[in-house]
C-alpha cells in the first residue's frame, strides 16, 4: 500500500461501503473510554460511514491483569510500554532483543516490581509471550476483513502497540488502509513515522475533526488524497505533507462522543465488575487549547503543539452533552480533558449546574489563581477534583516557569480547595534554569507549616517536552546537552530519527543545581505525604467572632495547642484569611493607626508560629474555618 496510498480493492463511492474500524491500543487508562475514538466515530458516522471502535487496551489489560496493566499505563519517564511492544512492531529491526534496557534503566523502573529480578522476569514474559499472543488473538478474533479503513489514535505510550497491530493487519489483509493520528503524530513526529514505517498509509497531523472525515470522503470518492488538509503520506517514495486547516473554531458543532463500544467490551471482559459503570469517569471535552499558554506559554509545557488557540463549548451545549452522556451510560462522573478551565464557566455554567441541583461530579484542570468564591461555585456545581498545575511553592521558581501566579496564591488554592472538599492533584517540580538553592531551602522550611493541606502527589525534575518553550522557542538557550530520553534507543530501529519522533528529552539546565540541592524539600514532602495519610491527619482551624479568633493547631503531634487573639490582633489575622493581602491594604481596610511596617512585623510574628504564609509583601492566614463549607 505504501506508494500512491490509494486503495484498490474497494471501488464503491458510497460511504456505507467503507467500513471504518478505530483502534486504541495499550497503554492508556483501562477505566476510561477513549474520547478520541468516541469523537471520531461520531464524526465519521455523521457522514454515513459505518464505524466500530475497538478499545483494544482493555483486552490486553484483561490478559495481563488489570492492576498490573494500570501500573504500566500510569508509568511515566522510561517508555516501558513502548518497549514491551517494540519487537512485534519492528521485528528484526527492533533494538534490544536481549532486554538490556531493564538493567540499564533499572532505577527508573523500580516502581513496577518488587525486585529487579522479579521485574525482569515479569516484563520479559510479557514482551516475549503475552504480547505476541495478544496480537495474534486480536487479529484472529476480530472481523478486520470487513474494514476498508483502520484508524489508530496514539498518545503517550501507544505507538509501538499500534504499529505492531497495523503491521500484522497489513500482512493478513493487504486491502486495509491505515490512518494514524493523535498527539504522538503532531509536528515533525508524524512525517518521520510515515517516512520510516510501511504500516502507515496516512498520518493526520494536528486536530482530526475535519481532516479525518475529509480523508474518508476522499477515499470513498476515488482516492485523491492530495486535497485532504493536515496529512502526511508517502508519494513516490517521498513524504508529502499537506497544510492543515485552522483549528476547529466552534466546538459546539462537534458531535457527542460515542462510548458504547467501550462499555460493551469492558463488560464482556469483566473489567467493570470491580468498579461498576458509575465509577467510570466519562471523558468530556468542554474546551481546547490554553488561554494562558496563548499569552505566556509555561516554559516546560509541551501540550497543544500546533493548537494553542483557546476555544470552549457554550454552557448550554455542555449541559446538553452531560445530560445525554449520563442517560446513555448511567454515569455522573465526568473528567474534562481540557488543558485549562474556561473562566466564564464560573459565571454561567457552574452556577447553572448548582441551581439545577444536578448530581454530576467533575475533574478539571485549572489555573491556580482561583479565589475562595470561585472554588465555592465550582464545589457547588460538583467539581470534586482539580489539577491546578501548582508546580512550586516558590514565587521565584514560578516566575522562572512563567506560571503567572505567586506561591501565596498556590497556598490559598490549597486552603480553599480543602475547605470546599475539592481534591487537588499537583506536583512539586524542580530543575528550572535560573533557580537557586535558596528557592528550595525556603520551600523545605515552609512545608511543615502546610501539612494540614493536600501534599503534592510527586516531586521531581521537569521533563523536557517537545513543543515546550524550553525545547523550541525563547528558552532553548537555557538548556544544553539535549538528547532523546534514554529509553527511546531501546525501542525504535536505528533508521528512525529519534530527534524527530521523541517527545521527551534528557537535558542539562544552564547553571542547574545538583540533585542534593533538592534533598531537604524532597524529604519534607515525603513527611508531608506520610502525615497526611495518618489516622488523624494534621489540622489547623479557626473559629471567629467580631474582633475575636481562636485557632486550634493540631498539625504536629506533641505540639498541639490553641491560640486566642482578640481586638486588633484578631482583626489583623482575619483580614488575611480570604485571600493574600498586604499590610498597607489591611491598614486601610481596618483604618488603623499602626504603620505598614508594624503590621508587617505582626504578620511575621504570625508566620514564625506557622500561622501565616508570607510571600514578598503578601500575607495569608493558613487556618481554615472550623465550620464547614460556607
Amino acid at each position: 500500500m505504501h506508494g500512491d496510498n490509494v486503495p484498490e480493492k474497494n471501488v464503491s463511492t458510497q460511504p456505507g461501503a467503507w467500513p471504518v474500524i478505530l483502534v486504541s491500543m495499550p497503554f492508556v487508562d483501562a477505566y476510561r473510554p477513549s474520547i478520541q475514538l468516541g469523537l471520531l466515530k461520531s464524526l465519521a458516522a455523521a457522514r454515513g460511514f459505518p464505524v466500530r471502535t475497538v478499545h483494544a487496551y482493555l483486552t490486553f489489560a484483561a490478559k495481563i491483569g488489570v492492576e498490573y496493566y494500570q501500573r504500566l499505563a500510569e508509568h511515566r519517564g522510561t517508555m516501558v510500554g513502548e518497549w514491551l511492544f517494540s519487537l512485534d512492531a519492528f521485528g528484526g529491526a527492533a533494538p534490544d532483543h536481549d532486554a538490556h534496557m531493564l538493567a540499564d534503566l533499572a532505577d527508573s523502573l523500580s516502581s513496577l516490581g518488587t525486585s529487579q529480578e522479579k521485574l525482569r522476569t515479569a516484563l520479559t514474559r510479557i514482551r516475549q509471550e503475552e504480547v505476541p499472543a495478544y496480537l495474534d488473538a486480536l487479529v484472529d478474533e476480530f472481523p478486520w476483513h470487513e474494514a476498508a479503513v483502520v484508524g489508530f489514535s496514539s498518545t503517550f505510550q501507544q505507538n509501538t502497540a499500534s504499529f505492531a497491530l497495523a503491521r500484522r493487519l497489513k500482512e493478513r489483509y493487504p486491502h486495509i488502509f491505515t490512518v494514524f493520528g493523535g498527539a504522538n503524530f503532531d509536528g515533525d513526529m508524524g512525517p518521520e513515522f510515515v517516512r520510516a514505517l510501511d504500516c502507515i498509509d496516512v498520518a493526520i497531523i494536528g486536530e482530526a475533526d475535519d481532516a479525518f472525515p475529509r480523508l474518508l470522503g476522499a477515499l470513498a470518492a476515488g482516492g485523491d488524497l492530495s486535497a485532504v488538509p493536515g496529512t502526511a503520506r508517502q508519494v513516490d517514495g517521498r513524504v508529502t505533507v499537506t497544510p492543515p486547516l485552522p483549528p476547529t473554531p466552534h466546538l459546539d458543532d462537534l458531535p457527542v462522543p460515542d462510548y458504547q463500544d467501550y462499555f460493551t467490551l469492558a463488560e464482556d471482559l469483566g473489567i467493570l465488575r470491580h468498579v461498576g459503570h458509575r465509577r467510570i469517569w466519562l471523558p468530556i471535552e468542554t474546551a481546547r487549547g490554553c488561554w494562558w499558554g496563548a499569552k505566556h506559554h509555561c516554559t516546560f509545557c509541551g501540550l497543544n503543539a500546533t493548537t494553542m488557540q483557546f476555544r470552549a463549548k457554550s454552557p448550554r451545549r455542555v449541559l446538553d452533552e452531560l445530560t445525554q452522556q449520563a442517560r446513555r451510560y448511567g454515569g455522573f462522573n465526568f473528567e474534562a480533558v481540557d488543558n485549562v478551565l474556561e473562566m466564564t464557566y464560573l459565571k454561567d455554567l457552574f452556577p447553572l449546574l448548582a441551581e439545577m441541583d444536578t448530581d454530576f461530579e467533575f475533574f478539571y484542570e485549572v489555573k491556580a489563581n482561583l479565589s475562595r468564591e470561585q472554588l465555592k461555585v465550582m464545589a457547588q456545581a460538583g467539581v470534586t477534583h482539580i489539577q491546578p498545575g501548582l508546580e512550586s511553592l516558590s514565587t521565584n521558581v514560578l516566575r522562572l516557569m512563567r506560571k503567572g501566579v505567586r506561591a501565596v496564591q498556590n497556598v490559598n488554592l490549597l486552603r480553599w480547595s480543602q475547605y470546599y472538599g475539592i481534591r487537588v492533584s499537583w506536583n512539586l517540580l524542580w530543575g528550572f534554569p535560573g533557580e537557586t538553592e535558596q528557592d528550595y531551602g525556603e520551600q523545605a522550611a515552609v512545608i511543615p507549616h502546610l501539612v494540614h493541606l493536600q501534599p503534592p502527589e510527586s516531586t521531581g525534575r521537569i521533563w523536557l517536552e517537545r513543543f515546550s518553550p524550553l525545547f523550541t522557542g525563547q528558552d532553548t538557550g537555557k538548556i544544553r546537552d539535549r538528547a532523546p530520553e534514554r529509553s527511546y534507543r531501546y525501542i525504535y530501529p536505528h533508521d528512525i530519527d529519534l530527534e524527530q519522533v521523541a517527545y521527551f528529552f534528557d537535558y542539562q539546565a544552564e547553571g542547574g543545581l545538583p540533585d542534593d540541592a533538592y534533598s531537604a524539600v524532597r524529604a519534607a514532602v515525603a513527611t508531608w505525604s506520610a502525615v497526611s495519610r495518618a489516622e488523624k491527619p494534621p489540622n489547623l482551624t479557626h473559629r471567629s467572632a467580631p474582633h475575636f479568633v481562636q485557632i486550634s493547631d493540631q498539625r504536629h503531634q506533641g505540639r498541639d495547642g490553641t491560640y486566642t487573639f482578640e481586638g486588633t490582633l484578631a482583626d489583623l489575622y482575619l483580614a488575611c484569611s480570604n485571600r493574600p493581602t498586604t499590610a498597607a491594604a489591611v491598614r486601610r481596610n481596618l483604618d488603623l493607626r499602626l504603620s505598614d511596617e508594624a503590621i508587617h512585623e505582626i504578620f511575621q510574628e504570625f508566620q514564625q508560629r506557622g500561622l501565616m504564609f508570607i510571600d514578598g509583601q503578601f500575607a495569608l492566614a493558613l487556618t481554615l474555618p472550623a465550620v464547614k463549607a460556607r
Binding site: W292, K367, N369, S371, G404, V405, R406, V408, Q409, E442, A445, V446, P448, H449, V451, A524, T527, V531, Q550, S552, Q554, R555, H556, Q557, G558, R559, D560, G561, T562, Y563, T564, F565, E566, G567, T568, L569, L572, P580, T582, A585, D591, L592, R593, L594, A598, H600, E601, I602, Q604, E605, F606, Q607, Q608, R609, G610, I614, D615, G616, Q617, F618
Partner: protein
C-alpha cells in the same frame, strides 16, 4: 447635630486646607469641622484603645495554650462558678506517642521582599 460620616482622607484634606494661609472653607468643610470636634472625645478614646506594636507582640506571646483540649481553654477564659467538691485537676500534658517528624518552627522562612504588585486574578 446631624450625624455625618467622614473618611480619614477628608480630615487630612481639611487639615491641609486649614494649614494654608487663606483657607477657603465650604459648607461641607464647616460641617465636617464641627463633627470632628464634637466627636473628638470619642475619637480620642478610640485612638487610645488601639494597641501599640509592642502590646500586640505581647498579646501574641501570651496567646498560645498548649494541649489538645479546646474546651478546657474556653472554661478557663470565661470562668465557671465555684463548685464543691472542686473539679478534678486537668489531665497531665499530652504525652506524644509519635511526635511530629517536623522540627519546631524556627526563623521565618520567607523574609519580606521589595514592593510587588497585588497578585489578583490573571
Amino acid at each position: 447635630m446631624t450625624e455625618i460620616e467622614f473618611r480619614r482622607s477628608e480630615i487630612e484634606s481639611l487639615a491641609e486646607k486649614l494649614s494654608q494661609d487663606n483657607p477657603q472653607l465650604d459648607d461641607r468643610d464647616r460641617r465636617l469641622f464641627l463633627a470632628i470636634f464634637s466627636a473628638a472625645s470619642q475619637a480620642e478614646s478610640l485612638a487610645a484603645s488601639e494597641p501599640t506594636l509592642l502590646e500586640l507582640k505581647s498579646q501574641l506571646t501570651n496567646a498560645f495554650i498548649p494541649g489538645e483540649d479546646n474546651e478546657f481553654i474556653i472554661v478557663c477564659r470565661i470562668g465557671v462558678p465555684p463548685t464543691w467538691p472542686p473539679p478534678p485537676p486537668p489531665p497531665p500534658p499530652h504525652e506524644p506517642t509519635d511526635p511530629s517528624p517536623f522540627p519546631p518552627p524556627t526563623a521565618p522562612p520567607y523574609p519580606p521582599e521589595g514592593s510587588t504588585p497585588d497578585p489578583g486574578q490573571e
